[in-house]
């Protein structure tokens, strides 16, 4: 799980173009939206694309996103349990 969290942090930094942010700077338990990284709805779309492209997870219900994208730790747990790639 620890490896997945680090990998996910790296992927998020790359896909969201977070220049100067290092994986160690991100608290995996901090909220991704609003506080914490301060992401917004367009970032949510980027994360949906990332999950499908890198882990083969297709989110069918948009309401699921709220729960899954709560923090990187929650996201990693969901990916570990549902990944097909």
């Amino acid at each position: 799980m620890e490896n997945l969290i680090v990998k996910l942090k790296e992927e998020i930094i790359e896909v969201l173009n977070l220049e100067d942010v290092k994986p160690a700077d991100i608290d995996e338990n901090a909220p991704l939206f609003g506080e914490g990284l301060g992401l917004d709805s367009i970032d949510a779309l980027e994360l949906i694309v990332l999950m499908e492209k890198n882990y083969g997870i297709k989110l069918k219900d948009p309401a699921q996103g709220k729960e899954i994208f709560k923090s990187i730790a929650v996201m990693a747990e969901y990916i570990a349990a549902n990944r097909s790639k």
Partner: protein, 335 residues
């Protein structure tokens, strides 16, 4: 109904040092065929969260616009009007490349959002919290002049009092290669292919910082010999010659017919060629009028006309695109 219209500030990012008029006294010359713009240190101006969705063209457009607004003292212009030949071509290329590679699935929204031409003008408006008139002209080589004319006509008719007019174009390596193959760029002896990021504030109010007055902006399509000259009191003509003998010849021939005995100036040797390069012609002419000086690098050395020069009060910026679209911007010092 006609109003006086002034250029009150201009800011640029190009192959010359960014956000300054340093090129006027110390121009940088290039021998390469293709030069990307000399960027400012954007980290000074944008937070990482703000910068993460901005491609180069958007950072350049936002910064030149912010600086032009600040310099002019107008923080909320009545209109934001942009000319761009290629729009956000770098993001468009990334988006199209992914579209092909991913089989038209799993496309990143940010690249899609930033791949449209009118992203630039709308982003500047969002940044400035400007809810007024917002428009984009994507008309190849006359995009900037269309934007300028729109602002000019609306100001003349009293619809608006201030307008931020921009000219923004990127040149990617892939696009340069295509234009080189098409014979538009990279021709022997031609100036470098460059990039444009320029914002100017127009106003019906004159200020201490006003560079010049815009007397007129006209476009003409077709046989140039049919064009009727309205103003004969022109001291210099700034033309878009770029070293390509085939297109330069058109400038020299047309100027000889339309404006005999008026000395010509150039600007593309300093700023390079791009679809919106004519904006640099207006910028260079405006600065000449403001400083009451014409630097040597703008003079055309081999041009056959040699006449004694008097004080420059009016400069006409004349550009043509494929000898079909002709644009004329007349600037004056008389204000």
């Amino acid at each position: 109904m006609n109003k006086n219209i002034y250029i009150n500030s201009i800011k640029q990012i190009s192959a010359q040092p960014p956000l300054t008029d340093e090129w006027f006294d110390n121009p940088v010359f290039y021998n390469e065929q293709y030069i990307r713009a000399t960027d400012a240190d954007y980290k000074q101006y944008f937070s990482p969260l703000e910068a993460r969705r901005l491609g180069k063209i958007l950072k350049r457009a936002l910064l030149t616009s912010r600086e032009a607004m600040q310099e002019s003292g107008v923080q909320n212009p009545d209109a934001i009007i942009t000319g761009t030949g290629l729009g956000c071509i770098e993001n468009t290329e990334i988006f199209l490349d992914k579209l092909v590679r991913e089989g038209e699935e799993l496309l990143n929204p940010t690249h899609f959002m930033n791949s449209t031409h009118n992203t630039i003008s709308s982003l500047v408006a969002i940044d400035a919290k400007c809810h007024g008139y917002n428009s984009t002209y994507a008309h190849k080589g006359i995009s900037f002049e269309c934007a300028l004319q729109d602002a000019f006509l609306q100001m003349q008719s009293g619809k608006i009092g201030t307008a931020l007019v921009g000219a923004h174009d990127e040149m990617t390596p892939a696009y340069f290669t295509l234009l080189k193959k098409a014979g538009y760029l990279g021709v022997e002896n031609q100036v470098f292919a460059g990039e444009t990021a320029l914002a100017m504030m127009l106003s019906t109010e004159k200020t201490e910082k006003s560079l010049c007055k815009i007397e007129n902006v006209e476009k003409f399509y077709g046989d140039i010999s049919q064009y009727a000259i309205r103003d004969t009191q022109i001291d210099h003509i700034m033309v878009g010659v770029n070293g390509n003998a085939a297109t330069d010849k058109i400038y020299y021939e047309n100027c000889k017919k339309l404006f005999p005995n008026i000395p010509l100036l150039q600007y593309k040797n300093i700023f390079g060629e791009s679809y919106t390069a004519p904006a640099f012609g207006v910028y260079a002419a405006a600065l000449c009028l403001k400083k009451e000086k014409i630097p040597n690098q703008l003079r055309i050395k081999n041009y056959e006309l040699r006449i004694e020069e008097k004080k420059t009060n009016k400069i006409l910026i004349y550009n043509h695109f494929e000898n079909k679209n002709h644009t004329f911007v007349l600037l004056s010092h008389n204000f």
